[in-house]
C-alpha cells in the first residue's frame, strides 16, 4: 500500500526551503516528502472506516509544506510522519474489502472524531472549523486529515476516516467535480463575508476562482449594487474569472487604479481615500495584504482566505481608517452542501486541469506550483488505476 509520507526531518526541511525559493515546487525532490510502501493504518476506533482515495487535490498549503515555507505555527498542530492530502474523493471500503459508497472527506478533525465528549463550545455550535481540541483526544495532533499521523491522507491508496467526516457524492458528479467539493466548501465559507457591496478578490488561483464562483452563485449577488473586481495574473485565470461572472477582471497593478476609478475616490500618497468595503485576499502575501489595505474603504474589512504566514505589513492605515483584517478558515458541514450546489451550477469540474499517479509526485507538485503560469488551476493525484 504505497503512500506519500511527510516526515519531520529538519535538515531536509531546510534544503526544501532553499530549493523551493529557487524554483517553487522543487522541494518535492529534496525535501522530507517521500513515497513509501507501508502496512495499512490501524483504525483508531472500530467506528472508523477505511477509504480508498480516487482523486486527491494538491492545495496551496500542501505546496507550502513541500517547499518548507509553511509557518512554524503549524508544527504543534500536526503529527509526523503524516500523509498529506485533504481534498479527497474516495470509496468507502466495506468490511468485505469491496468498494461501496463514493464520498468526499470533511477533513477537519473536530471533537467528534477525536472521541472528545462533551464537545467543545465551537463544535457544539456546529462550527467545527473553530474546534478547540484539534491537538487532543485519542488522535494524534492534526488540524485536519492530511496533517495527522493517525488518519493518513489523500495522497495514498488507503486512509481512514470517521463516519462524521463523510459526505456522499451525488451520482451525477464526476470524480473531478467531487474533488473540488472540499476547496469549494472553503470558498463558500469565505463567500459568507460578501455583503453585496463592492468587493475586490485578490488572486485568481483555485481559491480565488472558487470564492468568486461561490459569491456569484449566492442569491445576495442579484440585488447587489457594487461590482466584483478580481485581480488575475495570467490570461487563463482572467478568462475563467470572466466566465465565473466577475464584473471586472484586471491585473494586480491595475487594481488600485480600477478601484479608485470605480469608487470615484481621491488619492493620498498611494492610499485611496475611499475604496472597496470588502476585500477578499486569496493570496496572503505581504504584498497582497498591503495592497488590500490601500484599497479598502474606511471601516471596511480585508478577509484573509489565502494563508498569510509570517508577513510584514504597514498597519498605520488600518489604525487610522478603522479598517480590519479578519481570518477565514475552512468550513462547516453545512458549507459542503452549499458547495455541491455551487459546483453544479458553475460546472466547476473543468477546473481540474490535470491528474498524475502518485509515482509522478515530483512532476505533479512542480506543475501545481506553477499552475497559473501554465494555464492550469487544480492539479490532483489519481489513484483510480493500479494500487
Amino acid at each position: 500500500m504505497s503512500r506519500l509520507v511527510y516526515s519531520r526531518k529538519p535538515g531536509k526541511f531546510a534544503i526544501a526551503r532553499l530549493a523551493g525559493a529557487v524554483k517553487p515546487g522543487a522541494g518535492a525532490h529534496v525535501g522530507p516528502l517521500a513515497l513509501q510502501s507501508d502496512e495499512p493504518l490501524a483504525l483508531p476506533t472500530p467506528e472508523w472506516v477505511r477509504l480508498r482515495p480516487r482523486l486527491a487535490g494538491i492545495c496551496g498549503s500542501d505546496l507550502a509544506l513541500v517547499d518548507g515555507t509553511a509557518s512554524a505555527y503549524f508544527d504543534p498542530l500536526v503529527s509526523y510522519p503524516f500523509t498529506p492530502g485533504h481534498e479527497v474523493v474516495a470509496d468507502v471500503v466495506d468490511a468485505d474489502g469491496s468498494p461501496g459508497r463514493r464520498v468526499v472527506v470533511v477533513p477537519v478533525l473536530s471533537c467528534v472524531t477525536r472521541g472528545i465528549s462533551p464537545e467543545c463550545p465551537a463544535c457544539a455550535a456546529g462550527q467545527i472549523n473553530l474546534c478547540e481540541r484539534v491537538a487532543y483526544g485519542h488522535l494524534a495532533a492534526g488540524l485536519q486529515t492530511g496533517f495527522c499521523a493517525d488518519t493518513g491522507g489523500g495522497w495514498s491508496h488507503e486512509m481512514v476516516a470517521h463516519p462524521s467526516q463523510l459526505v456522499d457524492v451525488p451520482d451525477d458528479f464526476s470524480d473531478e467535480a467531487a474533488v473540488l467539493i472540499e476547496p469549494t466548501a472553503c470558498a463558500v465559507h469565505a463567500a459568507k463575508r460578501f455583503t453585496g457591496a463592492q468587493t475586490v478578490i485578490i488572486g485568481a488561483g483555485t481559491l480565488g476562482l472558487l470564492t468568486l464562483a461561490a459569491i456569484t452563485a449566492t442569491p445576495r449577488r442579484k440585488k447587489n449594487s457594487g461590482p466584483i473586481i478580481v485581480t488575475a495574473r495570467y490570461p487563463e485565470q482572467r478568462r475563467l474569472a470572466k466566465e465565473l461572472a466577475a464584473d471586472v477582471v484586471c491585473t494586480t497593478d491595475e487594481m488600485p487604479r480600477l478601484v479608485r476609478s470605480r469608487t470615484g475616490s481621491l488619492v493620498v500618497g498611494d492610499q485611496l481615500t475611499s475604496g472597496a468595503p470588502t476585500v477578499i485576499d486569496c493570496v496572503g502575501s505581504s504584498d497582497s495584504i498591503s495592497q488590500a489595505l490601500r484599497v479598502v474603504a474606511p471601516g471596511g474589512c480585508v478577509h484573509m482566505v489565502g494563508m498569510p504566514g509570517n508577513v510584514s505589513v504597514e498597519l498605520t492605515s488600518l489604525w487610522h481608517r478603522e479598517t480590519s483584517i479578519s481570518g477565514c478558515y475552512a468550513y462547516t458541514h453545512a458549507d459542503f452542501a452549499t458547495a455541491i450546489e455551487v459546483i453544479r451550477r458553475h460546472d466547476l469540474g473543468r477546473l481540474v486541469s490535470a491528474t498524475y499517479p502518485l509515482a509522478d509526485y515530483t512532476e505533479a507538485i512542480a506543475i501545481a506550483a506553477a499552475a497559473g503560469r501554465r494555464g492550469a488551476v487544480k492539479i490532483a493525484f489519481d489513484m483510480r488505476g493500479k494500487h
Binding site: E254, L258, G264
Partner: protein, 529 residues
C-alpha cells in the same frame, strides 16, 4: 527658394523611405510601380523683421480699428494665448507668443492700460509647467505678471470663474472664462500650426468650459467632421465652433485676434535630415542617421525621450495677421496652405505613415497608446483637403513601438481609459454612452486637472473621438513594430515588419494595392483631387 511639395512615384531605384517610429526611425522599402510618396513643401522663407511685422499687423489690422485705438486707460484687457500643445517641437526662444504679447503690452503701456491679465487658453489640456510658461512667454512677462497673479491658466472646471455668453440657434451653450468675458478687449494670440486651429476655435475651445466643449467634442460631431483641415462646410466641428463664434461676436467681449504661422523648419541639426528627401542625403546625413538610429536602440527609452522632447525647432514666423477673427483666419489659412498644401491625384488603397514621439497632447510626456491612435487616425489621417488619401474601406498602416507606457502626471485618466474603457469597447459612440460621464465627473481627475499638470478626465475620450472619422473610414488599421497586446487593445492589427503589414492588408485590399505614404513629420496637407 523653398521648393514646393510634390508626389513621388516610387520606382525600382527609389531608396527606402524614412518612417518615424516613436523615439526612433526606420527606413522602409515601398513596392515600386504602385506606391507614391507625398513630400511636403520645403520650409518657406521666414519674415526678416519679425517685430516690425508684428507692429505692422497691430497697427493695420484686418477689418478692425488699429489696436491702439481699442486701448484706453482704466480698461480691462485680457490677453489669452495658445498653450503648450503647439508648436511641435517647441520653437527656439523667443516664442511667437512672447514676441506678439510683448508688442501688445508695449502698446497697452503706451495707452496707459493698467489692468491686464494673461490667460493660457488650455481648454481641457494640462496646465503648463512654469518652465513651459517661461518658454512660451519669456522670463520678462512671466516674472512681471505671474507674481502679481495676473498670469494664470484657464480652468474649465472653476464654476465661479466661468460665464455663459449665449446660446446658438442649435442650443449650444457658449460658456467661457469669466475674466475674458468681462473684459473690454480680449486679445487672442495664436500659433497656427495646422489649418484646423485658430479662428473662432481659439476662444471657443481654449477658454471654454467642459459643458461648452462637449457640444462639439463628441463622437457624432467628429464622425461627421469629414474635413478637419479643409473646407469648413465638411466639418461638423468647425460649423459648431463657428456658430458659437457668432454668439461670441454678437454678445461676447470685443475680440482682437492675432494669428501667426510658422514654417516647417522643425528639426535642429543634427536631426535636420528628417526634413530632407532621402536621395539628397549627404554622407554626413547618412552617418548621422546610422549613428542616431543605432545608438537610440541602445538608449534607455527615458533618455531617448529626454533627447527628443528637449529638441527646439528652428521654425520661424512666416506671417502674422491681426484683427477681426474670421477675416484674420482666412488670411492665416492661406499662409498655412502655402506652407503645407500638396496636390495629389486620387485616393489609394493603403495609406502609410510614421508616428513620431510627440503629438499635440504629450509635449514633454509619453506618447501613450491612446495618443498613437489619436496621432495616426486623428491628426495625420485628417491632413487632407477634399477627400482622404486612402479610399473608404482601405488600410492605414502606421509605424510606432506602441508600448504600454503612460506619464502618470500628465495622463492619469488615460491609464484608466486604456485599462477600463478600451478593454470594454473601442467604439466612440458606445464609450461615450457608457463611460464618458464617469470620467468627466471624476473628482480625482478634476483635482489633478485643476491643481496638477494633468489633462482633464474626459480628455482621452476626446483624443479617441478625434480618430472617430478615421476609424470609421478605414477598413483595417495596422501598426508595424507595436507591442501586439497593446495594438490589439486599440482594436488594431499588429505586424512585425512592413512586408507583413502589406501581407495582412491583402485580405482587405488584395494583392496589388496602391499605396500612399505621407512623408511626415514636416506638416503637409494633401489636396486630393
Amino acid at each position: 527658394m523653398a521648393r514646393p511639395g510634390f508626389v513621388l512615384e516610387v520606382d525600382k531605384s527609389t531608396p527606402p523611405l524614412l518612417f518615424w517610429r516613436g523615439e526612433g526611425f526606420s527606413l522602409e522599402k515601398l513596392p515600386a510601380g504602385r506606391s507614391r510618396v507625398i513630400y511636403p513643401p520645403e520650409p518657406l522663407e521666414a519674415i526678416k523683421d519679425v517685430d516690425g511685422a508684428i507692429l505692422e499687423a497691430l497697427l493695420n489690422p484686418i477689418d478692425s480699428e488699429p489696436l491702439p485705438a481699442l486701448l484706453f486707460p482704466g480698461m480691462k484687457l485680457t490677453i489669452a494665448f495658445d498653450d503648450v500643445s503647439l508648436p511641435l517641437p517647441k520653437m527656439e526662444r523667443p516664442d511667437n507668443r512672447q514676441r506678439v504679447i510683448e508688442a501688445v503690452l508695449d502698446l497697452a503701456a503706451a495707452a496707459g492700460v493698467d489692468d491686464v491679465h494673461l490667460i493660457a487658453a488650455l481648454g481641457l489640456h494640462r496646465r503648463m509647467h512654469e518652465y513651459e510658461l517661461r518658454h512660451a512667454l519669456g522670463d520678462r512677462i512671466y516674472d512681471a505678471f505671474h507674481g502679481r497673479g495676473q498670469l494664470y491658466q484657464h480652468d474649465a472646471e472653476d464654476l465661479d470663474n466661468l460665464e455663459v455668453v449665449g446660446t446658438t440657434d442649435q442650443g449650444e451653450v457658449l460658456e467661457i472664462n469669466k475674466r475674458a468675458a468681462e473684459s473690454d478687449l480680449l486679445v487672442y494670440v495664436n500659433i497656427n500650426s495646422v489649418a484646423m486651429d485658430g479662428g473662432w476655435k481659439s476662444v471657443c475651445t481654449g477658454l471654454a468650459s467642459y459643458r461648452s466643449l462637449s457640444h462639439h467634442h463628441n463622437p457624432t460631431t467628429l464622425e461627421n467632421t469629414k474635413s478637419l483641415m479643409g473646407h469648413r462646410d465638411h466639418s461638423a466641428l468647425h460649423q459648431s465652433v463657428w456658430r458659437l463664434g457668432k454668439v461670441l461676436r454678437d454678445s461676447g467681449p470685443r475680440i482682437f485676434q492675432i494669428e501667426t504661422t510658422l514654417n516647417t523648419d522643425m528639426f535642429p541639426s543634427p536631426f535636420d535630415f528628417i526634413n530632407k528627401r532621402e536621395w539628397e542625403w549627404t554622407a554626413k546625413d547618412r552617418a548621422i542617421y546610422l549613428g542616431t538610429t543605432k545608438s537610440l536602440k541602445r538608449t534607455p527609452i527615458k533618455m531617448a525621450r529626454k533627447i527628443f522632447h528637449g529638441m527646439q525647432g528652428p521654425h520661424r514666423m512666416t506671417s502674422v495677421q491681426a484683427g477681426e477673427t474670421s477675416a484674420v483666419h482666412e488670411v492665416t489659412l492661406q499662409h498655412v496652405y502655402r506652407q503645407q498644401l500638396v496636390e495629389v491625384q486620387g485616393q489609394t488603397d493603403i495609406l502609410t505613415m510614421g508616428i513620431p514621439f510627440v503629438c499635440p497632447y504629450n509635449p514633454d510626456g509619453v506618447m501613450n497608446p491612446v495618443l498613437v491612435m489619436c496621432m495616426g487616425l486623428g491628426y495625420l489621417f485628417n491632413m487632407y483637403r477634399n477627400k482622404p488619401l486612402v479610399r473608404e474601406g482601405g488600410v492605414i498602416i502606421m509605424t510606432h513601438p506602441t508600448y504600454k507606457d503612460f506619464n502618470p502626471v500628465h495622463h492619469p485618466s488615460y491609464i484608466d481609459f486604456y485599462e477600463q474603457v478600451l478593454a470594454d469597447t473601442t467604439n466612440p459612440a458606445e464609450m461615450s454612452r457608457k463611460w464618458e460621464q464617469q470620467f468627466a465627473e471624476d473628482e480625482w481627475y478634476r483635482h489633478l486637472y485643476r491643481t496638477g499638470n494633468a489633462y482633464h478626465g474626459v480628455h482621452p475620450f476626446y483624443a479617441w473621438y478625434w480618430g472617430a472619422h478615421g476609424l470609421q473610414h478605414a477598413g483595417k488599421v495596422i501598426i508595424v513594430g507595436g507591442e501586439p497586446a497593446v495594438v490589439r487593445r486599440l482594436g488594431f492589427t499588429p505586424a512585425s515588419t512592413m512586408d507583413d503589414a502589406f501581407e495582412i492588408a491583402s485580405d482587405v485590399v488584395g494583392r496589388h494595392p496602391t499605396i500612399s505614404h505621407m512623408h511626415v513629420p514636416a506638416l503637409l496637407v494633401a489636396d486630393v483631387k
